[in-house]
């Protein structure tokens, strides 16, 4: 079975990994442990060794490409397994053909053979419309469901079984029509270190804005210390922006290994009209304000005020207690402000 060639993870401070060159060409034999390709980080160039012995194939990254850690950029096939010419990235058939030719030495690894095609051709998941509706309503990860329905499909009872096994994700009781008691918490931080860190985060192409630096810090902290709704479900983050029709949102990925390049890409996507589960971040500073807490927002909001050297910067959280408890929000906000005061701590997360 072919071995995947991965972009190595290089710690949380490295935001961009650029492929400098391949030291082997597709179709060439490589030996386990010998240098295979060179990458460039903001600190240094690095040789990456071949993870297996075999034929380099299915090369999908070219010199100059910006890469994300743990992405598959090539495969190393065993002798006789590799296609003669570099195949398109999606082809799984060429790998099967030579295997047929080599029938006498067919590998007794059926399970492994299936997984070998996984990074190239993802297996389709069949889930009933009803089950998908329920799963989406409760943020149930479809990949984590066990299918018991007809023809191997995931059906409603499979989602319900998952929800029962994860009581924290059970739907909250229908919202009481109580008087809204939206609270607002505020805290200030000293942006000096943060501005220094912003300089340090200078990438080869794009310098992050101070807002993006705050976002990255908040996202990394959220990955390490999740905020939960009162019903136990984990709250994600979205970037909110004011538009003529109201607020629009860009849901942000939640990953401790998130890097600036990926965050910047997400921030370039088209915002959506709706965002129901999580916390929205609003850039008050872009409007020249220090605190902006729309009272009609349906989700918890964090507003980030102006960030200027030599002045305190403001963070505020406003939410309805039914969406986020004030106690939890307070301790989280205090921790975030603490982190922004001393961003080197982010390295420890």
């Amino acid at each position: 079975m072919p071995k995947q060639v991965l972009v190595p993870p290089l710690g949380t401070t490295v935001d961009t990994i650029t492929l400098v060159e391949w030291l082997k060409q597709p179709g060439e034999a490589v030996t386990h442990g010998e240098p295979l390709f060179v990458i460039e980080t903001d600190k240094a160039n690095l040789d990456v060794e071949a993870p297996a012995t075999g034929i380099l194939t299915q090369v999908s990254a070219q010199p100059g490409d910006e890469l994300t850690a743990l992405t598959v950029i090539a495969l190393i096939a065993e002798e006789g397994e590799a296609p003669k010419t570099p195949a398109p990235a999606t082809a799984s058939a060429p790998a099967a053909e030579p295997a047929e030719v080599q029938a006498p030495v067919a590998k007794p690894e059926p399970a492994a053979a299936v997984s070998s095609s996984a990074p190239i051709c993802r297996e389709r998941v069949f889930i009933s419309p009803r089950a998908r509706r329920l799963a989406e309503a409760h943020n149930v990860p479809i990949a984590g469901l066990v299918a018991t329905g007809p023809e191997g499909a995931i059906i409603e009872r499979d989602v319900r079984a998952w929800l029962e096994a994860h009581p924290a994700s059970m739907p909250a009781a229908p919202a009481q029509t109580a008087v809204s008691a939206r609270y607002t918490l505020q805290a200030e931080f000293d942006p000096a270190e943060l501005l220094d860190w912003q300089d340090a985060l200078r990438t080869s192409k794009r310098q992050p804005s101070i807002l993006q630096v705050v976002l990255l810090t908040a996202l990394r902290m959220l990955a390490a210390e999740p905020l939960n709704a009162p019903d136990g479900s984990e709250l994600g983050l979205a970037m909110a922006e004011l538009s003529d029709t109201g607020l629009r949102y860009r849901p942000l990925p939640l990953a401790s290994a998130l890097n600036m390049a990926r965050l910047q890409k997400v921030l370039e996507t088209e915002p959506q009209e709706a965002f129901s589960q999580g916390i929205a971040l609003l850039d008050a500073g872009a409007l020249g304000l220090d605190v902006l807490t729309p009272s009609d927002a349906s989700v918890p909001m964090i507003s980030i005020g102006r960030v200027r050297r030599g002045r305190p910067a403001w963070l505020s959280v406003s939410a309805d207690p039914s969406a986020l408890s004030a106690l939890q929000a307070a301790s989280w906000l205090a921790r975030l402000v603490n982190l922004l005061d001393d961003p080197q701590q982010v390295l420890a997360i």
Partner: protein, 337 residues
């Protein structure tokens, strides 16, 4: 309140309507001949003694002729109840029904009404391919016709009375195995459900279905004979812990689709059982409606159980295989769990 068969309930409905409105009359082949059976299935038995042979009007064996008389007299203000000995003979009248009766009101801008009832027995009963068809789907496809299919004595009386009072042509499909016809006209293997029928005047509104059995796990839609197959299957399934909801649409045009959609939104599963042939059939239409309007509530594929795309066999053994059975329904439902 009396216990009666569907044939008796229909007879009572006809009698009451003829007493209520002198424009109502019956027309058909051998429906009033002295010493006859009262039509092929005894529905009009004895009515010619009470109303005379001018209002229980026998015709020569010419379906196109009797359809023409019925439709023409309806246009002229009468309210005929036409008897088709076997539903299969509706094909003989097809131009009269599809091109004339169904379109007259539309093409005349509403000035000509066709308040005609056409009663047509359907179902496979060991009488060969030309006396066995289930024709419901054909006639649901013709705009301008209403189509009802009563499966109980209560509905037979109530729907026939509603049909007589409707100003549009209404086809009433009746199942041969459900009539409860007696004597020489009794049918082998008949179910002949006996039901309570009020003695007073009532109608079952056209366009209203009914839930025959409540359940939460799967919706089974059946009509006429296959309603009873669905109910039998629901009994079997209950023993295994599957609670089936059984729906009898009663009227096919206009269809009470909300009743079906509401049930599927609850259960997430749908099985349709019919005796029509599969292709271009009624079950396919119900499946399409649900797929279009309740897709996100479906938890499993929709199942259709129909007669195969073949003429109805004469041999009783083959006929057993031709019409969906209780076991077929049970098996189809269980495949969804």
């Amino acid at each position: 309140m009396s216990q009666m068969s569907i044939a008796q309930a229909l007879r009572q409905a006809i009698r009451e309507e003829m007493l209520r409105d002198e424009r109502v009359y019956c027309i058909g082949e051998d429906i009033g001949v002295p010493g006859g059976f009262g039509g092929a299935f005894t529905v009009t038995l004895g009515l010619s003694d009470e109303f005379g042979r001018e209002r229980i009007l026998d015709t020569p064996i010419s379906e196109i002729g009797l359809a023409g008389v019925a439709i023409g007299s309806a246009c002229a203000g009468m309210r005929p109840i036409a008897d088709v000995q076997y539903g299969d003979f509706l094909f003989c009248m097809m131009d009269q029904l599809a091109n004339q009766a169904a379109k007259m009101r539309y093409m005349s801008g509403g000035t000509i009404k066709v308040p005609m009832v056409m009663r047509a027995p359907v179902g496979s009963t060991s009488r060969g391919a030309q006396h066995a068809q289930s024709l419901e789907a054909f006639f649901t496809h013709i705009p301008g016709l209403k189509v009802v299919a009563p499966a109980t004595a209560y509905d037979a009386k109530g729907l026939l009375k509603a049909a007589v009072r409707d100003d549009n042509p209404v086809i009433v499909f009746e199942h041969k195995l459900l009539y409860g016809s007696k004597g020489p006209r009794s049918e082998r293997g008949a179910l002949s459900p006996i039901g309570e029928v009020p003695d007073d005047d009532y109608i079952v509104p056209i366009g209203k279905g009914i839930i025959r059995r409540k359940g939460k796990d799967v919706t089974i839609v059946g009509k006429l004979l296959t309603l009873y197959r669905a109910l039998g299957a629901a009994d079997e399934l209950a023993k295994e812990g599957i609670e089936a909801e059984v729906i009898d649409p009663r009227t096919l045009v206009p269809l009470d689709k909300d009743l079906i959609l509401e049930s599927v939104r609850k259960t997430g599963r749908l099985v349709i059982v019919e005796e029509d042939n599969l292709t271009g059939g009624w079950a396919g239409d119900i499946a399409a409606i649900v797929a279009e309007e309740a897709f996100y509530w479906l938890d499993t594929p929709i199942k259709r159980l129909s007669a195969p795309d073949a003429p109805a066999p004469f041999a009783p053994v083959l006929e057993q295989l031709y019409v969906p059975s209780v076991a077929n329904v049970v098996q189809a439902v269980k495949s969804l769990f």
